[in-house]
């Protein structure tokens, strides 16, 4: 292929050389033509200048008139006829000769006739002879008496004149002949020159045609071979592309396959850490978890890189609560920072102009995590600061994130290598600190995918500031990331949660986490089981895996939402390993509330439950008809199990009696402003409500202890209790 390409190149190069030669030739030809034209026009103008009287004719006429004059005079003398008529005729003859002489003197001839010295000499002799006699003829014309002697002298002189004119005539004839021959030669020369140039022209045109033909042919050949090469290249490219695709596919599959067991390992380790462990085992378990975490990060990086290399780096634009994302991310790395002896600081504006922006929270968190992890990794006993700044105009608002550390820093040479795939500042870095060298490359690609820019300022030994700027467009309403919704409190009330998950290990891990968080967990092995369970039981939350046998998460969600079951309105959060835009859209369409990427960690679960609690709080805000919530149901089941149904009913009715008494007391206490007594009464009410599972009443009583209590809110509480009584006792 390379040889063919070279050949084509050679052909084209040769052709262009030939073109250059042709161009030179054409220029020469043009010059020749110009010269020829100049020559012809010069000759022509010479010809124009040469339009003159014929010298030979004039000399002939002179000779002729001289002879006629001599003849006339001679006859007159011989015949001795000197009548006035003859004398007059003789005068005319002389006048004509005189005029002929004048003509010869004054006329410009076509040849260099007059420049000839011999001619000049002869003409002078003739002129003297003619003009010398003018006095005699003037006298004759004036009618003076004729002197025969003078005429005799003139006659003999004219005889010599005639000889001279004849000599001049002959000489002129030969001169003119020579000149004519020369002129013919000159014309011939010109003709030869023209012929030569025309011949050259013909040669040139023939050469031109031949070269053009050859050139056309070779260019055609080159074109064909180039086309062939381009086809080959296309095939090779497609083959390479297919290979690359297969490689990426393999990496994706392998990554997924590795991640699943790894998640199990990590989850199990985390669970084990939560239980009391003998001191000999605890450090080992921590090592397992940390190594697993590191391995997971490496695999994620490689998978991301494989995706980005394939141009498939997904960016999903959603509503992002910047403060929540940043806070959560810092919390995620706080432990690690502490391990390195680093202090971690978060600098945020007091209030954001655009608190919720339209961006990709997962990717944003990924970049922040990566940069923070790096900063922590390369800093010991220092400070890592995450700074968020709002910059730019209101129309073109931007967010600038800065991650500053007091670590080892990077020199100028190293800065150039950053953001390049598989490159670290130097080889010793990877030995000392580890890492794939892909993190910053991925960060760069993500930031660019988010229409932002990334960069670094650093000085060796003085630490670094990694920064990135992304557009801060205000978000439209949509699914807010489950994790980012709210910083989670550490203690939760107990919710009734349905975990839909087919993988046994994942079940165990997630159920373990939830149990640890004090939640009640029911497990469904697939979608069908989940749908059945939701029909008969009221759940506060459904965690739904996406890929399951028999009935997948999307379909199960649709059926739950469409059913008439107890949990048809419960929040459903999807759990999936690969969260693409399409998946997200499908989830939303199916009626899911939120979205959680797998593996689900303790941290994430904490966030989800936190948001559930937050939602419940806001939901209670307006006065609404009380409902039998999960807490009540759970408590009821507990008591029924331990003491039986009847006892529970008794407990409940006695609670309502106590409550009405307590409320009456509260009214009187409030009337006299006895705060201590009010607080005591509220405390009692809260405890009583809790014991029968009326968490709502308990919470509100508790809230009132800290708020300024009024007759209105007390009436409100009383109203709520009354409604519960109607609902439960009736």
């Amino acid at each position: 292929m390379i040889t063919a390409a070279q050949q084509s190149g050679d052909i084209i190069r040769k052709a262009s050389k030939a073109t250059v030669v042709l161009q030179c030739f054409a220029v020469l030809l043009l010059l020749g033509l110009v010269f020829l034209f100049a020559d012809i026009s010069r000759k022509y103008s010479a010809l124009q200048d040469g339009i003159r009287e014929n010298a030979l004719w004039s000399v002939y006429q002179l000779d002729r008139e001289a002879r006629r004059l001599h003849e006339t005079l001679h006859i007159m003398l011989v015949e001795n006829d000197l009548t006035p008529e003859r004398i007059k005729a003789l005068g005319t003859r002389y006048d004509i000769l005189y005029s002929r002489m004048n003509i010869l003197d004054k006329t410009s001839f076509e040849t260099k006739f007059k420049l000839d010295a011999a001619v000049a000499e002869q003409v002078t002799a003739i002129r003297d002879a003619v003009f010398g006699r003018s006095a005699v003829f003037d006298r004759l014309a004036a009618g003076d008496p004729v002197d025969p002697v003078q005429l005799e002298t003139a006659d003999s002189e004219f005889e010599r004149l005639v000889e001279n004119t004849e000599k001049l005539l002959l000489y002129t004839n030969s001169t003119v002949s020579i000149e004519r021959a020369e002129a013919r030669d000159a014309v011939l020369d010109l003709q030869m020159k023209s012929a030569g140039l025309v011949a050259l022209l013909v040669c040139c045109v023939v050469f031109l045609i031949l070269t053009l033909r050859r050139q056309l042919k070779s260019v055609q050949l080159a074109g064909l071979s180039l086309e062939a090469i381009s086809n080959q290249l296309k095939e090779s490219y497609l083959a390479a592309e297919a290979g690359n695709r297969a490689k990426s596919q393999f990496m994706a599959t392998m990554g997924h396959e590795i991640r699943t067991p790894l998640n199990a390992i990590l989850g199990t380790a985390e669970l084990l850490e939560l239980s009391p462990l003998p001191p000999s085992v605890a450090p080992g378990l921590q090592t397992i978890r940390r190594s697993g975490q590191a391995l997971l990060e490496i695999i994620n990086e490689i998978l991301d890189f494989a995706k980005s290399e394939h141009g498939k780096l997904d960016v999903e634009t959603r509503a992002v609560d910047v403060r929540a994302v940043v806070t959560a991310t810092v919390e995620m790395v706080r432990d690690r920072a502490t391990e390195h002896g680093n202090r971690i600081a978060l600098e945020l504006p007091i209030s954001f102009t655009t608190p919720v922006i339209s961006s990709d929270p997962t990717r944003l968190r990924q970049v922040l995590l990566n940069l923070l992890s790096n900063a922590i990794k390369f800093t010991s006993e220092g400070t890592v600061t995450l700074r968020v700044l709002e910059i730019g105009d209101p129309q073109d608002a931007q967010l600038r994130f800065e991650i500053e550390d007091t670590g080892i820093g990077i020199d100028g040479e190293g800065l150039g290598k950053l953001f390049q795939p598989f490159s670290q500042v130097d080889a010793s870095i990877s030995r000392k600190y580890g890492g794939t060298g892909l993190g910053l490359t991925i960060c760069k690609q993500i930031v660019e995918a988010l229409s932002g820019t990334i960069g670094v300022n650093s000085r060796k030994g003085e630490g670094s500031i990694f920064w990135f700027v992304i557009p801060a467009n205000p978000a439209e309403k949509g699914l807010v990331d489950a994790l980012a919704a709210k910083a989670a409190p550490q203690q939760f009330q107990s919710w009734n949660i349905l975990l839909v998950e087919d993988n046994v290990i994942n079940q165990q891990v997630a159920a373990g986490f939830l149990a640890h968080l004090g939640q009640l967990v029911t497990i469904a092995n697939d979608g069908l089981e989940a749908v059945k369970l939701t029909e008969t039981t009221r759940f506060d939350l459904v965690l739904m895996d996406m890929q399951m046998p028999r009935l997948d998460g999307i379909e199960a969600t649709k059926q739950i939402r469409a059913s008439n079951g107890f949990s048809r309105n419960a929040p459903i959060i999807a759990m999936t390993a690969n969260a693409s835009d399409d998946d997200r859209r499908l989830c939303e369409e199916a009626g899911m509330t939120g979205f959680q990427s797998k593996p689900v960690s303790m941290h994430q679960l904490r966030g989800i439950i936190g948001s559930l609690e937050a939602a419940a709080e806001t939901a209670v805000e307006p006065v609404q008809s009380p409902s039998i919530d999960n807490a009540f149901e759970t408590r009821r089941l507990e008591i029924v199990e331990a003491l039986g149904e009847e006892t529970f009913d008794e407990l409940l009715s006695s609670f309502f009696e106590d409550a009405s008494l307590l409320l009456t007391d509260l009214h009187s206490a409030l009337a006299v402003n006895d705060h201590r007594h009010t607080d005591h009464l509220l405390h009692t009410l809260k405890g009583a409500a809790s014991s029968v599972g009326l968490q709502d009443v308990a919470d509100r009583s508790q809230d009132l202890r800290h708020a300024s209590i009024t007759e209105t809110v007390l009436a409100d509480l009383e109203d709520t209790v009354t409604r519960y009584r109607q609902l439960l006792v009736a």
Partner: protein, 169 residues
């Protein structure tokens, strides 16, 4: 009726006009030019038209300044136009034969007289020309008006010392 008579009279008068052509006056001085032809409308002497210098100079003519091969520098020629001379003689024909004192003759087409302002120059630089100086008449083509005439063809027709012009069919 009266109208008709008048129209007839006009027609008759129009038809008679060419016949009323008057003959040339007789030359009073020395005859310098004789025009002969098979058909002359206004002959004055024995079927020929003869002109003396005042007769010629009275005819419509022109003056032109020009260079010729036979003169030095720019020369001013003046004299009657050839066609006015021919008209005065009432000559008709297609060819002219211009004959000089030395019997030199040149044939020229009638067009040279009708379509070109060819003159029979009587004066050069305002002076009458002697025989010694190409006089008395010199056929001068309008070289000043048309450079295309400046070639051997017209040079050979430029006859001087003219004495006769023969007009032939």
């Amino acid at each position: 009726m009266i109208n008709r008579i008048m129209i007839a009279a006009v027609i008759v008068a129009g038809a008679l006009l060419p016949l009323q052509a008057t003959a040339l006056d007789l030359p009073k001085g020395k005859v310098v030019l004789t025009v002969t032809g098979t058909k002359l409308d206004h002959p004055n002497v024995g079927g020929k038209a003869q002109f003396d210098m005042p007769m010629l100079e009275a005819l419509a003519g022109r003056t032109g300044e020009m260079e010729t091969p036979w003169t030095e520098g720019v020369v001013k020629f003046s004299g009657p136009l050839l066609r006015s001379v021919l008209e005065a003689a009432g000559a008709h024909g297609t060819k002219l034969k211009v004959i000089a004192l030395n019997d030199y003759a040149a044939d020229l087409p009638m067009e040279d007289a009708t379509s070109l302002d060819t003159m029979l120059a009587t004066r050069m630089d305002g002076k009458l020309m002697s025989v010694r100086d190409k006089g008395p008449l010199f056929l001068v083509y309008p070289f000043d008006k048309d450079q295309g005439l400046f070639n051997e063809k017209y040079f050979s027709r430029s006859v001087w010392q003219i004495k006769d012009i023969e007009v032939t069919e």
